[in-house]
């Protein structure tokens, strides 16, 4: 790759890592088809690449049981267009090809798995980890690198079994100072995405109408990190901070927390399954109110 003079590097050079939700179980029963969605997304990517000559875009597909890198704008400089295909900008020819290959592979994988009775969630933890690895490589590439951020386009519901892995990725992103933006296009609320954006300082938005998705994307998510300091972006009023318990992967509001490793359990255990520390007696009786808990030994 050609070295770039440093004076070309302005404040708003950005690296956008897009996590695309390709969960077939989600897309199979939506009013908006996947192709319409894809067209919005591809146009958005084009717009981002057009904002600055040095912008970079990486697309990672989040499948049902696997993830993979689909597109890296810094690798496809040589634009050997596919002649014969009409309508599609040559830039994204390879993207679509790789996407198709990925979906085929994903299908193969799911055939091998036994009946997997879990919620139809996509592998968000996997794609977050891959994005963070790529960003870490960019950080180590030298002095001049674009400012990375992650955009998560998700529609599938949260898989509570991925809670630990997702939280670990979120905290790593916080450490790296990489904001995670999230655009949730599904029906229910996604606690993971809200927490991710809140903790890392990104933007979370759930657009209601999908036919205006392109407008949402360009208005909110195309702003680079430098511009965000003087542009007002929509902020959610509250954040859903629910966690899932470590034993059953249920989403819980109140539970028990191990004081050594902070793992969350929904019921009383004798031993922590993560760190092995032994818990003491539970001080709570069956139906106790707040005042009961505070009362000391009864007077004799």
């Amino acid at each position: 790759m050609a070295t770039v003079a440093s004076k070309l590097y302005s404040d708003d050079v950005s690296l956008l890592v897009l996590l695309l939700d390709t969960n077939p179980l989600f897309w199979s029963n939506r009013s908006t088809t996947f192709s319409q969605f894809l067209s919005h997304v591809l146009a958005f990517l084009n717009a981002v690449l057009g904002l600055n000559q040095l912008n970079r875009v990486v697309v990672i597909a989040t499948g049902y049981c696997s993830c993979d890198y689909i597109y890296d704008s810094s690798l496809t400089l040589s634009g050997n267009s596919e002649s014969g295909r009409t309508g599609m900008p040559a830039l994204f020819g390879s993207l679509l090809e790789k996407l198709e290959d990925f979906i085929v592979k994903d299908e193969e994988l799911i055939k091998e798995q036994e009946h997997d009775e879990r919620i139809a969630s996509s592998l968000l933890s996997g794609s977050l980890s891959m994005a963070l690895c790529y960003i870490q490589r960019v950080f180590r590439s030298g002095h001049l690198h674009p400012q990375p951020r992650i955009l998560c386009l998700q529609g599938s519901p949260d898989g509570p079994e991925q809670y630990v892995a997702v939280m670990n990725s979120i905290f790593s992103a916080q450490r790296l100072m990489v904001p995670i933006d999230s655009c949730y296009i599904g029906t229910q609320n996604s606690a993971f995405l809200q927490q991710a954006s809140y903790i890392t300082g990104g933007v979370h938005h759930a657009p209601k109408q999908l036919d205006g998705l392109f407008q949402f994307l360009t208005t909110i998510f195309a702003t680079d990190l430098h511009t965000r300091s003087f542009v007002q972006l929509p902020k959610p009023v509250g954040v859903d901070f629910r966690a899932s318990c470590f034993c059953h992967k249920k989403t819980i509001d109140m539970g028990y927390v191990c004081s050594v490793c902070l793992s969350i359990f929904c019921e009383h255990h004798k031993k922590c399954s993560t760190c092995g520390s032994v818990f003491g007696q539970s001080k709570l009786d069956g139906a106790s109110t707040v005042s009961d808990k505070k009362r000391k030994a009864p007077d004799s």
């Binding site: 407008q215 034993c247 399954s273």
Partner: protein
């Protein structure tokens, strides 16, 4: 007790009013003869600071001048000197008596209140520095909800810090040598004067254990302390004159002096013991060099001159090296006793005690000796000559990290789907997805990508969202709601928070209630808390309507805590009532009975 006819003047120039001076228990009364005059006087004896009187030999009339603590003086002119002297004697006696007494009641006072002037000053200082604390103090202690002691009970750290800081640092010993203190010589009368302070005494005792021992033995049985020190300094003087012949002569005469002139036997013994205790394999605690009393030195005296050794008087000499080493050793050891008293004997005894303790610790008992020998033999062995040792091994258990990750998958229970239907659904889904991709590849991006009305709608809704969010949250996401309140409300909210915490702390600490004191305390605290509660309510109503919701959210945890406290208080009260009703059912105690309609006779 006695009455005298006197004339009372307030100043010297005053003509004086005639009357009777009565000395009663604890006070002085002057009653003028003329009932209309207003020079009646009553002076309490403790108030009298001093008394002056005119001498008999002078031409002045017999006057007694009493000055009281407020610097007012009362002059009484007596009829004759005898009366005056009698009165003066009685007053002196009374003054002496009442000087003893304040010591006793003062002792009682301090033990009851535990407050000295220094403490009070410290408290005021802390209050002055911390305005928050001062406000709390004003609110609770002055309205008698909490007492001073309770208020400060949890804040001992604030009060104690200063005093602890002062006494933490230990003062070491001076590095100047004692023998470097030059006496003042008086050339005229040929006297040499040494100045002794307790610091110097301490250092002498620390450096020369023989002197200490001699002190304990001789004083006060054989000689007084002054004599002891005189002898000691005579010995020092003799040393400094370097006249060993004279020293030997005097030592032969005076047995006690000889003690000071001999080399320090105790020290030598200690050094020998230390060397014996040394573990040749490892311990470098002491070695031959520690025995500095017997060091071969270069014969250099303190002022640098060389000296010829006279063998028979060799013991009456000390060299610079010995002195320096001993002094350095003592300074490095530091101050190991805390005795601060002026009494020389107690200092000597304390030092002796310490030395005995350390000696006892160091004494090697038979077991300790055995252990030492065993240790020496262990350390001295050579590894390659030993037989191979088979220690029992504990098996290594390294957990597979995959267990952690896989256990996180857990047993997730969903509604069970038939395997067949699942597979079919999945295949269909994948199929439709692939079709979509094919479609977009052939058709390309849709044109127009987005309808203008839709775009406009999006813009409008976004603008609305952002502006409403700005109203609710504020321009700066990091800004808290507290900053948006008017300053007075904000201060009030914060103050309520701290005061409610303080009240709750004392309230919960007074349970379980065992004494009446705690009972009244809980009652008072409960009243103060209900007061706070109503103030919170009033504050909520007084604030602007758009802030009200957020404010009530902010205030809610405080109110919940107060509610819990009230609940507990009422429940406890009920329980007590029920219990006392039950308890007194068997007694003939009618008025404790809460059961209606049952009268115990």
């Amino acid at each position: 007790m006695s009455d005298w006819q006197v004339k009372y003047k307030s100043t010297v120039k005053d003509r004086g009013a005639r009357g009777i001076l009565k000395l009663r228990e604890g006070m002085l009364l002057f009653v003028p003869n003329d009932p209309n005059s207003d020079s009646k006087l009553k002076v309490l004896t403790p108030n009298i600071k001093s008394q002056k009187y005119t001498k008999e030999g002078s031409n002045k009339p017999p006057w007694l001048n009493l000055t009281n603590k407020q610097a007012r003086s009362h002059i009484f002119e007596f009829e004759n000197y005898q009366d005056m002297h009698a009165c003066r004697a009685l007053i002196t006696k009374a003054l002496a008596k009442c000087e003893e007494e304040p010591n006793k009641p003062a002792a009682v006072l301090t033990s009851a209140e535990q407050l000295s002037i220094a403490d009070l000053e410290l408290r005021f200082k802390v209050l002055r520095e911390n305005s928050e604390l001062q406000r709390l103090h004003k609110e609770f202690v002055e309205t008698k909800v909490l007492t001073e002691d309770e208020f400060w009970a949890t804040r001992k750290k604030l009060l104690g810090k200063d005093s602890i800081r002062k006494s933490k640092q230990q003062v070491g010993l001076k590095s100047m040598m004692v023998s470097g203190i030059k006496p003042s010589t008086d050339g005229r009368t040929n006297r040499v004067t040494f100045n002794l302070t307790s610091e110097i005494i301490f250092q002498i005792f620390a450096e020369k254990p023989a002197v200490r021992q001699a002190f304990i033995n001789y004083v006060p049985s054989k000689m007084t302390e002054k004599d002891f020190w005189t002898k000691y300094f005579r010995a020092e003087y003799l040393y400094s004159t370097k006249n060993t012949a004279v020293a030997a002569a005097e030592a032969a005469e005076d047995e006690e002096l000889a003690v000071f002139l001999k080399p320090d036997e105790i020290l030598a013994q200690e050094a020998r013991q230390k060397i014996r205790r040394v573990d040749p394999t490892l311990d470098m605690e002491a070695d031959q060099g520690d025995d500095y009393t017997h060091l071969m030195d270069h014969g250099i005296q303190r002022d640098g001159t060389m000296d010829v050794v006279e063998p028979q008087n060799g013991q009456f000499r000390r060299s610079l090296l010995q002195d320096l080493n001993r002094h350095a050793a003592v300074v490095l050891e530091g101050r190991n006793i805390d005795v601060d008293s002026e009494d020389t004997r107690s200092v000597a005894e304390a030092l002796a005690r310490v030395k005995q303790v350390s000696k006892a610790d160091g004494e090697t008992t038979k077991d300790a000796n055995q252990e030492r020998l065993a240790r020496m033999s262990r350390v001295a062995e050579m590894e390659d000559l030993q037989a191979p040792q088979n220690f029992p091994l504990a098996p290594l258990s390294i957990k597979d990290p995959r267990d952690y990750f896989e256990s996180q998958q857990g047993n997730v229970v969903n509604e069970p789907r038939g395997a067949g239907t699942l597979k079919r659904n999945v295949h269909e889904a994948y199929g439709s997805l692939k079709e979509s991709i094919l479609e977009i590849r052939t058709k390309g991006l849709s044109d127009p990508l987005i309808k203008p009305e839709v775009a406009f709608e999006v813009f409008r809704s976004l603008t609305q969202t952002i502006s409403t969010a700005k109203n609710i949250i504020g321009k700066n996401p990091r800004e808290s709601f507290l900053d948006r309140l008017p300053k007075s409300t904000r201060d009030e909210v914060l103050h309520h928070w701290t005061s409610i915490q303080e009240l709750l702390k004392h309230f919960w600490s007074s349970y379980p209630i065992t004494t009446t004191y705690l009972h009244t305390k809980a009652g008072k605290l409960k009243d103060a808390m209900s007061n706070s509660y109503s103030q919170l309510e009033a504050m909520k109503e007084s604030v602007q309507s758009e802030l009200r919701h957020q404010l009530s959210l902010l205030v809610r945890p405080m109110q919940q805590a107060l509610d819990a406290a009230f609940q507990h208080y009422d429940a406890d009260l009920q329980r007590r009532a029920a219990k006392s009703a039950r308890g007194s059912a068997g007694e003939a105690n009618g008025h404790w009975n809460y059961n209606k309609g049952v009268i115990i006779v």
